[in-house]
Symmetry: C2
Subunit: 199 residues, 2 copies
DNA sequence: CAAATAAATGAATAAATATTCATTTAAAAA
DNA sequence: TTTTTAAATGAATATTTATTCATTTATTTG
């Protein structure tokens, strides 16, 4: 009997290899779409045998759900880097907004993957609920903004989707036209957003 | 020899049945994602035999490419309904904006399908180029807006993606939370957009 | 070091899915 | 009505892809 049986219900895994598998999957999804990936291709791209994949993940569904959760987690972790509640609201908002943009630029493949997962049959209800909770801090941010009259008194969802939607779409189209997004572009884009949502 | 051999290179098809197939595909993609559809399921949902599907479409790739093109065409056709170049700019812009929103509400399944296709391995370069040209009128619209100093002097892509991205994301999230979008919501959302992009 | 245990392999199998085609049914022409 | 042609069918086949497992390789323990 393994000592982990009591301490940890999950079998310990080589973190490096897990990361390799995740990276390979993201790469392939960006290149071929969620409907274009196969387990053997993932294994090949991760430089492991197909069988090894099944040591790390029970099946394809599990792999995709775990990767989705990991992507959400890592994205939210970045969103609030450098943010402090005591900052003037606009300054804090700009930091979060910039982090949102930067995440999508730096980890485009994660953004693409999460996008694709939205309508996929792979993501389970459990994963959906779990990852929904993770973005709660964003809702809190816009709520604060409304409370101090910095933002328009509108539905949270509306403010957030307008903020996020514009970034998403711009980064997506820019990547496809091989356009590099400059600091100045980012500033202009922020102003578009801010002028729209400020009270 | 069939008279169409010279007049039209494409075999004439029962329009009604083609529409049935398209509708079935859109329904299934909305429900199960692009990676979750099979040819036999499409046939079943369209109430025809699998073999019949292959009379209408050479293969799965062709079916999806033709449907994508059809979705783009029908969307752009709607965008400029009621718009006239002689209108005051903001009025015309509002009409197009509203049509964009309304299309995504009324034909959500088409929006989902097109979204999914973006990163899919099915859509060929030819289709991408073809459909890219179709959205040219939207670029012209924002260009006009800039020319008369109604819109900020920013990159076309930036203005357009910010306009479209917000709508996309809002409709998407609303549908998933089973939220009905009211006329008032639409007005608020328009103001978010307009306040952001106006000069 | 040898023995025992764990991890990795990838060819083989099972399951799912695209595509075909011999046959049937419907429509048009004679 | 009979003959000819076109359209539709869906079971059968081919292909692709998920998953398994007997075997090999690496690691840990005594």
């Amino acid at each position: 009997m393994n000592i982990y049986s009591f301490i940890c219900p999950v079998k310990p895994r080589d973190q490096h290899k897990t990361a390799q598998i995740f990276a390979a999957t993201l790469l392939l999804v960006r290149e071929n779409g969620l409907s274009g990936i196969t387990m053997s291709e993932i294994a090949k791209a991760a430089k492991i045998a197909t069988g090894t994949l099944y040591i790390y993940f029970e099946n394809k569904e599990t792999l995709i759900n775990e990767l989705f959760t990991e992507c959400r987690k890592s994205s939210v972790a970045i969103y609030f880097e450098g943010y402090h509640a005591e900052m003037p609201f606009k300054e804090g908002f700009r930091i979060v907004w910039n982090n949102l943009l930067q995440f999508r630029i730096d980890h485009f493949e994660k953004a693409v993957f999460m996008d694709q997962c939205y309508h996929s049959p792979f993501i389970t209800e459990t994963t959906k609920e779990l990852t929904k909770k993770m973005i709660h801090p964003l809702f809190k941010l816009v709520e604060t903004g409304k409370a101090i009259k910095a933002l328009k008194e509108l539905d949270n969802l509306m403010l957030l989707t307008y903020m996020v939607g514009g970034i998403n779409e711009y980064v997506k189209r820019s990547k496809y036209s091989a356009k590099k997004i400059t600091k100045q572009d980012a500033m202009h884009l922020f102003n578009l957003c801010w002028d729209g949502i400020k009270a």
